[in-house]
């Protein structure tokens, strides 16, 4: 295999990991922009999506199972998200740090529930046969480059979701409300925006998107009770790098984290890559403490 093909393959890997991060982090970032709270149980929405995919495919076998699983996982995770927002997060949102701890408690309960229901070892989702192909280049400058269909499928889903959410935020009335509450909650509320409802809708939209990411995770490996945990810490770092509630910022930050990890792993092992990623984030915030995209505001306390 050629050097350049390996490099391009690694960049491609980075982008496909980044597209998972963006799906996982999007809900966190949007809700953080609105309510200034972080949902530590967000990783369990990925897990829920994975298990829902497993259940759907066992009911609807065949090539279309995975396509049916996507809306099912979205709806299931969005519903659980709405319940969580209504019962825990909204009650505590005046105390962001306490929200963090309470939602961590929720995440422990959900993990244990999954362990009791499905077992600690995890379940395997078999990718449909139409995803079991690879694109291989056997000639030209990138000879030896292979791109699995599953990775391309991830890119496709992430692209569609990002496009849909960009449309929602920029072209619909709900999107207008979201941006308004994001910029100035009291003024938006005074203008008649139901900020409470906007919070609830955005939160459950975000958890729904995380559920979609869970379906994709299920294609890549077994779904275990702690599957969300391995993706959630990078997703938190994406939120920090991305800036408050910005779609573009979150996307750029996901690409940064995904590519950084994929490229650094050429030289060092996975655990050292994790340390270097943290070092990278700490250095980055020395220069841009507000993240990639800064919303200009006169407010002192963000």
């Amino acid at each position: 295999m050629q050097e350049s093909a390996f490099l391009v393959g690694q960049v491609f890997n980075g982008i496909s990991v980044a597209s998972l991060f963006v799906l996982a982090a999007l809900g966190l970032a949007l809700s953080f922009g609105l309510m200034r709270v972080i949902n530590m149980a967000h990783g369990e929405m990925l897990m829920l999506g994975g298990y829902l995919a497993y259940l759907t495919i066992s009911i609807v076998p065949g090539p279309l199972g995975i396509i049916v699983a996507l809306p099912v996982a979205f709806a299931g995770a969005a519903l659980l998200g709405a319940v969580l927002e209504f019962t825990v997060i909204h009650r505590l949102s005046a105390r962001p740090l306490d929200t963090l701890l309470a939602t961590w408690g929720v995440s422990l309960v959900l993990q244990q529930a999954a362990r009791n229901l499905f077992g600690a070892i995890g379940v395997q989702v078999v990718a449909p046969s139409w995803l079991n192909h690879t694109v291989s280049l056997s000639s030209g400058p990138l000879e030896g480059l292979t791109l699995p269909y599953t990775r391309l499928f991830i890119l496709l889903v992430a692209g569609l979701v990002l496009g849909a959410i960009a449309l929602l935020l920029n072209k619909t009335r709900l999107g207008l409300y979201v941006r308004a509450v994001n910029q100035d909650r009291p003024v938006a509320a005074a203008m008649g925006v139901n900020a409470r409802l906007v919070d609830l809708l955005v939160f459950s939209l975000g958890t729904g998107v995380a559920g979609l990411a869970g379906v994709i995770l299920a294609l890549l490996g077994p779904v275990t009770p702690t599957v969300g945990q391995s993706y959630i810490v990078p997703a938190f770092l994406v939120v920090i790098l991305g800036g408050l509630g910005s779609l573009v910022g979150t996307t750029i930050a996901s690409l940064m984290v995904g590519l950084f990890t994929a490229l650094i792993e050429i030289f060092v092992d996975v655990s050292v890559a994790q340390v270097l990623l943290l070092v990278f984030v700490i250095i980055f915030i020395q220069f841009r403490p507000q993240g990639v995209i800064t919303v200009r505001s006169r407010a002192l306390e963000g």
Binding site: A102, G105, V233, I240, I285
Partner: protein, 357 residues
């Protein structure tokens, strides 16, 4: 002058703690010693979280740095390094010579100093880098969690140098003294007890000084502190450094009691568990941090051995309930005027009314 009841309670607790080796059996004494070591760390969390408003989800890192700093020495004890002797696990992993960073730890005094200095320096450097760009609140909590994750995965992956997943265990002596006997356990317990008391009185004093007032002011209104012409950075970095040092000392003592230090004690989950001890005990009250640590850990010891899955549900519920309904913790129940105390009193009064009727 009338001495209020709480001083009698305090004196009784001190007396009980000091005399515990006389009437508590050795297993329970070892548990109590372990949990008291953890409570040193918990007092640090009380300082940064309750008084400084800084939530750290990575105190396990400093706990681990302290624990490993001592454990490196304990592993080298009795080995002839000049001869090329190496700890057992390195021989098994096929390391050819002792890694350079292990050498200084052959000296017990270096190791004891490192227990304090390494967590202190790491905590100071890390918090300065983050706080100087005014990153705080939720962001800081998330970065500390990433720190805990990075630290524990690094320890696990560098198996040949750190003992990997199993950590460092199987110690026998410290500076020539046997540390495994029953008598040694009592001495270690008493040392722990004295350090807990010293940390308690030090923090009590510290929080009453001008510095403590400024720390609370920073928690309540960082920008107002700035407007008044003060720089909040030294208070936040200082508090985080003290908390890191306390965590390191707690880690070293815990290592002595438990006879092991491993990544399972320093990762993401244990680090956040440490916060719930303080949340339950009371984040604004020093004795609350100690009481919460002892309470949660004794409960964990009882429940998790019998019903492990119940313990995780219980821990999750503890997080949700203590934060939602008991924000000032158990200690809040005893604090006149706190919301918890008012609810508690209302229930009591209602009972009285009912009996009166």
């Amino acid at each position: 002058m009338k001495i209020s009841a709480k001083y009698y309670v305090g004196a009784a607790v001190l007396l009980f703690g000091a005399l515990a080796p006389l009437f508590v059996n050795s297993y329970e004494l070892s548990l109590l010693g372990r949990f008291l070591a953890l409570s040193i760390l918990a007092m640090g969390i009380m300082l940064i979280w309750g008084e400084g408003g800084i939530l750290s989800l990575g105190q396990g890192v400093f706990f681990g740095l302290g624990g490993y700093a001592l454990a490196l020495h304990l592993k080298l004890e009795g080995l002839n390094i000049a001869n090329g002797d190496m700890p057992d696990f390195m021989v098994w992993s096929g390391v050819s010579s002792l890694p350079y960073f292990w050498y200084p730890f052959a000296n017990p005094w270096f190791s004891l100093a490192a227990v304090v200095l390494i967590p202190g320096i790491v905590a100071a450097a890390f918090s300065w880098l983050v706080f100087r760009r005014r990153i705080g609140g939720v962001y800081f909590a998330l970065i500390t969690q990433a720190l805990a994750l990075a630290f524990s995965t690094l320890l696990i992956s560098q198996q040949a140098y750190t003992g990997g997943f199993n950590g460092l265990t199987d110690y026998s002596t410290f500076d020539g003294y046997d540390i495994t006997s029953n008598g040694a356990a009592q001495v270690i317990y008493l040392i722990t007890f004295v350090i807990v008391a010293a940390a308690y009185f030090f923090l009590r004093w510290l929080l009453a000084t001008r510095w403590g007032i400024m720390l609370r002011a920073t928690r309540d209104g960082e920008n107002r502190v700035r407007f008044l012409g003060h720089n909040p950075l030294p208070y936040k970095v200082g508090a985080f450094t003290i908390a890191g040092i306390l965590a390191g000392i707690g880690g070293a003592l815990f290592t002595l009691h438990a006879g092991v230090v491993s990544p399972a004690l320093v990762g993401v989950v244990p680090s956040i568990e440490m916060v719930v001890w303080v949340a339950l005990g009371g984040r604004n009250v020093l004795w609350g941090a100690i009481a919460g640590t002892l309470l949660v850990n004794f409960a964990k010891d009882q429940i998790s051995s019998a019903l492990p899955s119940l313990w995780l549900y219980g821990l999750g519920a503890l997080f949700i309930l203590s934060v939602s309904f008991l924000p000032a913790g158990i200690a809040g129940l005893f604090k006149p005027g706190s919301p918890e105390e008012r609810v508690y009193r209302r229930i009591l009064n209602r009972r009285k009314l009912e009996t009166a009727e």
